[in-house]
């Protein structure tokens, strides 16, 4: 079984630019989550999809972040325009509809300079 795939693995962009992160969950997993870890801080929840619907987006920091999940399959997280404080590692995770533990991807390391 393929795991959760994220790309790119690393992205360096300039402040003000746009970056799009992609996540391919495990096939059949209806739950998809985005988390973020900024330097020196704990991993923080961003949002949760159930299939193509946003179930909870209470962790999204501001309206520069836009997440979508096309047809309940892969998801994208767009940051536009990027700011320095957006630097960190962005993790995607997925789980079955009925399940408690989810599988994380390896993350996208975003550096905004």
């Amino acid at each position: 079984e393929a795991g959760v795939t994220q790309f790119p693995s690393h992205s360096v962009i300039e402040k003000g630019q746009t970056v799009t992160l992609r996540c391919d969950p495990i096939s059949g997993h209806d739950n998809l989550y985005w988390y973020r870890r900024v330097m020196g801080k704990e991993i923080k929840f961003l949002l949760h999809f159930v299939k193509e619907s946003k179930q909870d987006e209470s962790g999204m920091p501001n309206n520069r972040f836009l997440a979508e999940r096309t047809g309940g399959t892969y998801s994208t997280l767009k940051v536009q325009p990027a700011e320095l404080e957006d630097s960190g590692v962005y993790f995607c995770a997925s789980s079955p509809l009925e399940g408690y533990g989810y599988t994380f991807g390896s993350g996208t390391r975003l550096t905004v300079v």
Partner: protein
């Protein structure tokens, strides 16, 4: 104050030692408790999962939850160099969807 506190370490032990990793938390609503292991440049990997109070054992790993003290522990017996990683505790209430609140992680180094 953070909702979940975890000593960042690093914790350095010799191979074969018993390791104790701990988290404290402030939200009494937390009911589900998890331990994740994270190797460098990888995503967190679920190790143990416990609901409410009690102990759970899986091979060399034992998870304990003491809700009265708001304290959870992960014990690793006969530690191996391959156990060297960052260990993250995570937890959630019963009615908050699946959103997890993480501790900051403890870096463990097991020396041969």
């Amino acid at each position: 104050q953070k909702e979940v506190e975890q000593d960042p370490g690093p914790l350095s032990v010799p191979e074969g030692a018993i390791v104790s990793l701990n988290c404290t938390y402030s939200n009494s609503a937390f009911q589900y408790f998890m331990w994740y292991r994270q190797y460098s440049r990888k995503g967190p990997e679920l190790l143990m999962y416990t609901y409410s109070s009690g102990n759970k054992e899986d091979g060399r790993f034992t998870a304990q939850v003491d809700k009265s003290s708001k304290y959870i522990s992960l014990f690793i017996r006969d530690s191996q160099p391959s156990d060297s990683a960052t260990y993250l505790c995570a937890m959630r209430p019963n009615n908050a969807g699946n959103m997890l609140t993480f501790g900051g992680g403890t870096r463990l180094m097991v020396k041969p």
